[in-house]
């Protein structure tokens, strides 16, 4: 595949890996967090850890959209589908996330809920056009990458006056989550961030500057291909060794300083900041998520239907919260691979392909514990 295989080249990878190994200072540990689930997935899927020296640690961050949604948000979607009998449209990842009382959206389907897996909110809008007699709700989730498509669908719905379409908005923001990780009392020790790929195409590289300036943590924005990740690690190591903390951009083929101004304008037209939003693992963060603007109130499922958000604690044994903060590794959780597997997930991190637990279980669990606990 053109423009893809070039970024998965094994010979180039070995070259960069060897150069990283030469660069590392003996006796120093390097702790890098990849914020995005997309990076977590790439690291596991291509076996990138196998190319790196043991003194370099990759710590999985919270950037997995369905993982950071607390149970109460999935409960809301289930109540919409079961009690308000809407057709609920969702990205596939959210369907198997465990909710309260042993439920999930998929199990709700077994109890009569009408559920559609979609690849785009425009598919949900199309369904609303085709089924004017039914309420169609799109379960919107994700970071800055998936927000513009939701905005497009909402603008289109308003322009066409599609009265039976609405959105249950769970869009969240990356910078507040990064800040929460760094400000957590007794939080994880980090030397730098592998910065988001697709998120950065939208917001640009400027929003990461405070993490370098205020917290002294270098950030290197990287694409989701395995060579991107290796190259970003190399750039981070160079910064750390030189005592620098800057925002650098490995993903220049897609990310600029300012990001995508059109997409930003679109998002600003449709969405406003929520006062506060509860995240799994990170707690309630101020100004960390989006809601629909009053002009779009008619399309806001939370206003149209009585489904108030109720906070629900995670399963007692589940350590998703600590895994999302980077405090614990998936394999440190007592129920990892025993009570909690991709077939019977207890926590959301075991569901999504971008979740740290699912990635480690599906791709990495053959590694001897001694290697990963090094």
């Amino acid at each position: 595949m053109k423009y893809v295989d070039e970024f998965r080249d094994g010979a180039l990878a070995r070259g960069i890996a060897a150069s990283i190994a030469r660069q590392l200072r003996p006796g120093r540990e390097y702790r890098l967090m990849e914020f995005c689930g997309g990076h977590t997935h790439a690291i596991s899927r291509y076996g990138i850890a196998d190319l790196l020296p043991p003194q370099l640690h990759l710590i999985h961050g919270p950037g997995c959209p369905v993982c950071v949604l607390p149970v109460g948000r999935i409960d809301q979607a289930i109540r919409l589908a079961l009690e308000h009998e809407v057709i609920l449209c969702s990205y596939g990842d959210a369907l198997r996330v465990p909710a309260s009382d042993g439920m999930s959206l998929l199990r709700a389907r077994g109890r009569g809920a009408e559920l559609r897996m979609v690849y785009s909110p425009l598919d949900a809008l199309q369904l609303a056009r085709a089924r004017p007699g039914r309420e169609v709700v799109f379960l919107a989730l994700g970071f800055e990458t998936t927000t513009p498509p939701t905005a497009v669908a909402l603008r289109q719905a308003r322009a066409e006056g599609i009265a039976n379409f609405s959105v249950l908005c769970n869009h969240v923001l990356t910078p507040p989550a990064m800040r929460a990780i760094l400000e957590a009392p007794g939080g994880v020790a980090l030397d730098g961030f592998i910065g988001p790929a697709h998120v950065s195409t939208v917001i640009g590289s400027a929003p990461y500057v405070p993490f370098a300036r205020e917290f002294g943590k270098p950030v290197v924005i990287a694409g989701f291909e395995p060579l991107d990740v290796l190259r970003a690690i190399q750039m981070l190591v160079a910064q750390i060794d030189a005592g620098r903390a800057e925002v650098e951009n490995e993903f220049t083929r897609a990310v600029g300083l300012e990001g995508n101004r059109k997409a930003q304008a679109l998002v600003a037209e449709v969405f406003a900041l929520r006062e506060a939003f509860e995240w799994r693992g990170l707690g309630t963060l101020l100004h960390s998520a989006l809601r629909l603007r009053p002009e779009f109130a008619a399309f806001d499922a939370e206003r149209r239907f009585a489904v108030p958000y109720r906070g629900v604690p995670d399963h007692k044994a589940c350590e998703c919260a600590a895994v999302l903060r980077g405090d614990r590794r998936p394999q440190d959780c007592r129920i990892f691979g025993t009570a909690c597997t991709p077939d019977h997930p207890v926590g959301a991190c075991m569901v999504s392909s971008e979740g740290a637990c699912a990635a480690h279980y599906s791709y990495g669990r053959f590694r001897a514990p001694s290697r990963s606990s090094a």
Partner: protein, 346 residues
Amino acid sequence: MKIPHTRPLNLRQGKVEMAHGAGGRAMAQLVDELFARELGNAWLAPGDDGARLPPARGRLVMSTDAHVVSPLFFPGGDIGCLAVHGTINDVAVMGAAPRWLAASFVLEEGFPLAELARIVASMATAARAADVPVVTGDTKVVERGKADGVFITTTGVGVLAEGIELSGANAGAGDAVIVSGPIGDHGMAIMSVREHLAFESPIVSDTAALHGLIGALLAAVPATRVLRDPTRGGLAATLNEIAQQSRVGIVLDEAALPVRPAVAAACELLGLDPLDIACEGRVVAICPAAQAASALAALRDHALGGEAALIGEVVADERRFVQMQTRFGGRRMVDWLAGDALPRIC
């Protein structure tokens, strides 16, 4: 005996009606004018409740498969030929020569007879090409909304020659793992229709009857230990099943895996892994390493095995993990797929 019908079945505009499954004249007419006409053979002709089959030399192998694919028609095939191929292949990977098929239809009230006729004609063509007749069948009709057009269950019986003992439990450390052609074609052909993905060259299902190919392989390498067709769950599920049954590990070489560029691109777009995607015309063979070259040669000599490849080896591993050496230079597990990313693929 033919029942005289006042008007012939309207195969252009007609629809399936409840009466077509009710046991009365309408059902007899549907059987006569559609099923028997298309699938006709000496066993079906008497119109009895079952088929009287000749004695067979050897043990019998029997397998059954329900087909619920959506959409019913897809690039490279339809539910009719798929129902024939699917069951023939299940019998064939047991090492048996498929001889007879039974077919059961569940039809949804209101389904166009024209489409049913296309499906039955496609079944008949596939059965004739494979030389495996449909010798008995059944038709039921359910109310509109209680099924999705047509569901077809086929059952196959084959004859197993003396000395052939294939089983998923036979793989041993050191054995070679071979696949007969590119993976994921069927699943991505279906997905590209469902998701309206258009490619310059469309992805075409690989649906095919494999008993000829498998016969050639077994003739060349009688010591073949395991054969399996990687349908639902793809190569990943098939290899994990074998690893479990044989209590071994398997290590694949990503660079050796045959995947068509269009399939790889479609998987990339949809976030899928070709290893998880169903094939309907491929076989995985595990044989002693010393005979891997003969097995490959036999497969490649056959029209359906031209792109056969040696993709990995069986290793001793108590954990029974399937792993892959990535092209990138790392290693990863190849696990079963969790949940059902691709429902109703066959």
